[in-house]
């Protein structure tokens, strides 16, 4: 089985109302990743394009072939990928496995989203799903976890809110992040309630943006001194077991355990983590599922600074979804890009000193109190 490395990355700023359309955003990120890898389009053996809302908002289908053809990637297999918020990381997972299987030596993975459109509203599941017809909306699914978490572990809403303060402080150091102005704990807590106890500043913003990575087999990557090795790439799906435990997320734990096993490491070996902080409570639950702390201790990590830059295990130094922004299809790629930059020592003002092993965790979709999709990547240099 081939080893897989990341040899090029590129991304646009994440922001509201970008001038570019979906294809334009995608081109910028993909070209930057190609240049970063020092490759021409002819070197690409396979392409993956992650996007969620294009088919729904503008009727785009097979957008990946359209975007990639415009930067010269033709003839090779190209796959369009949708796995909700984990579409980008699912596309990465496919590319890793394509290279491992020997289908090609170099793959281009591009995630892009254009979601600044009037009247988008809250994201929901498909209308065929009963929960949607009973009023389930994305913030509610995490608010229900938060309410249960506060109840079981006697944690205050202020402890959860601290995650938003921390990630905003990180985003101030990331020129590509959507929101870079620091916020205070009082501002987070006093922002309007969206779904009790989650306030607006504890919800990730929608954004336009694109992020791309060039992945290569060891054969190709050997000459690249900046190459970052992918030690584990895990994609798993919810069990939908009933009754489900909303604060000890089995799918999250299962995905993490598989990633650690495959990488041959444990949580104590990690230097930097990006996780799917779509809401403050999400980061708290993921840090527990990843084994960075025990059950009920996740909220304390942000309060005590353990997950801040300079802390024991910095989490979401990019600003996370909460402050970098969350263009659905691009997020999974952006997370791995942050880890790659950190491991290259190219993290700039937010560099985690001496980072050698990183992890990126993402989730997508919601059903029966479980995630439909969970990805975990471990990478090292």
């Amino acid at each position: 089985m081939n080893d897989v490395y990341v040899i090029g990355v590129g991304m646009t700023p994440f922001r509201r109302a970008a001038r570019e359309d979906l294809a334009g955003l995608g081109r910028i990120a993909a070209l930057e990743a190609l240049r970063d890898a020092g490759l021409t389009p002819a070197a690409i053996g396979g392409g993956y394009f992650a996007n969620v809302l294009g088919p729904q908002l503008t009727g785009e289908v097979t957008a990946g072939q359209f975007v990639l053809a415009s930067i010269g990637v033709r003839r090779v297999p190209i796959v369009n990928v949708e796995n909700a918020c984990s579409s980008g990381s699912t596309a990465l997972w496919l590319a890793v496995n394509g290279i491992r299987a020997g289908e090609f030596d170099v793959a281009l993975v591009l995630g892009a989203e254009k979601m600044s459109v009037p009247g988008l509203g809250l994201l929901r599941g498909g209308s065929e799903e009963l929960e949607t017809q009973l009023g389930m909306v994305m913030p509610a699914s995490f608010a229900l976890r938060a309410a249960r978490y506060l109840h079981e572990f006697e944690v205050t809403p202020a402890a959860l809110a601290q995650v938003a303060v921390k990630n905003r402080r990180h985003a101030a150091l990331n020129p590509l992040a959507q929101f870079r102005e620091p916020v205070t704990l009082a501002q987070v807590l006093d922002s309007p309630l969206i779904a009790d106890p989650i306030t607006r500043l504890q919800c990730c913003p929608t954004a336009d943006g694109a992020a791309a990575a060039v992945l290569a087999s060891g054969r190709v990557a050997r000459a690249d001194r900046r190459a970052v090795r992918v030690d584990a790439a895990v994609l798993c799906t919810g069990s939908y077991q009933n009754p489900t435990d909303l604060v000890r997320w089995e799918t999250d734990r299962r995905g993490s355990r598989m990633a650690y096993e495959r990488a041959g490491i444990g949580p104590e070996d990690l230097d930097v983590v990006e996780c799917h902080d779509a809401f403050t409570i999400a980061e708290v639950l993921h840090t527990e599922a990843l084994g960075l702390c025990g059950p009920g201790e996740g909220a304390r990590l942000a309060v005590e600074g353990a997950t801040a830059l300079g802390g024991r295990i910095p989490v979401n130094v990019s600003g996370g979804l909460l402050s970098r922004g969350h263009p659905l299809g691009a997020t999974g790629c952006a997370q791995l890009i942050e880890i790659v930059q950190q491991l290259r020592g190219a993290g700039g003002a937010r560099q985690v000193e001496g980072a050698r092993v990183g992890l990126a965790q993402c989730m997508g979709g919601d059903q029966s109190g479980d995630a439909k999709s969970c990805t975990v990547f471990v990478a090292s240099r």
């Binding site: 009973l134 009790d196 909303l246």
Partner: protein
């Protein structure tokens, strides 16, 4: 007449001897209960049959959604997970909007059905929700 309003979707609740009951499925082979209803048991792929899941339970978690509500639901509206007494399932459900401010984990609740929001065609419809058990 509310009785003439259609349900928001068919097959989720029905009238019982002492009020509405929630409907799901039961596997004919391994006897597990499921909600929402499913045609095949996901564990043994045996055919399931419609099963009454009961009407009583306790709130496992709850929230009040304060953004612009979907489906013509009231603003704000409440949702939660309810642990059902009879079958042990934990089900996602609407909670009585009148309970906003009084919701508590562990609160005993029972199923009710009333006009609540609109269906996929924007027409008024009946929806099931859990409300507090009478004191």
């Amino acid at each position: 007449m509310t009785a003439e309003l259609p349900p928001f979707v068919p097959g989720v609740f029905q009238a019982g001897a002492s009020g509405p009951v929630l409907l799901g499925s039961r596997c004919g082979s391994c006897q597990q209960h499921f909600f929402p209803a499913c045609e095949l048991c996901p564990d043994c792929l045996s055919a399931t049959s419609t099963a009454e899941l009961g009407a009583h339970g306790r709130i496992y978690s709850h929230t009040v959604v304060r953004t612009k509500p979907p489906l013509g639901l009231p603003a704000p509206y409440a949702v939660g997970y309810v642990d059902l007494d009879d079958c042990g399932l934990r089900v996602f459900a609407l909670l009585d909007p009148a309970l906003v401010g009084r919701l508590q984990i562990g609160l005993p609740v029972r199923l009710a059905v009333a006009p609540l929001g609109t269906d996929q065609h924007g027409q008024p419809c009946l929806r099931p929700y859990f409300t507090a058990e009478p004191a």
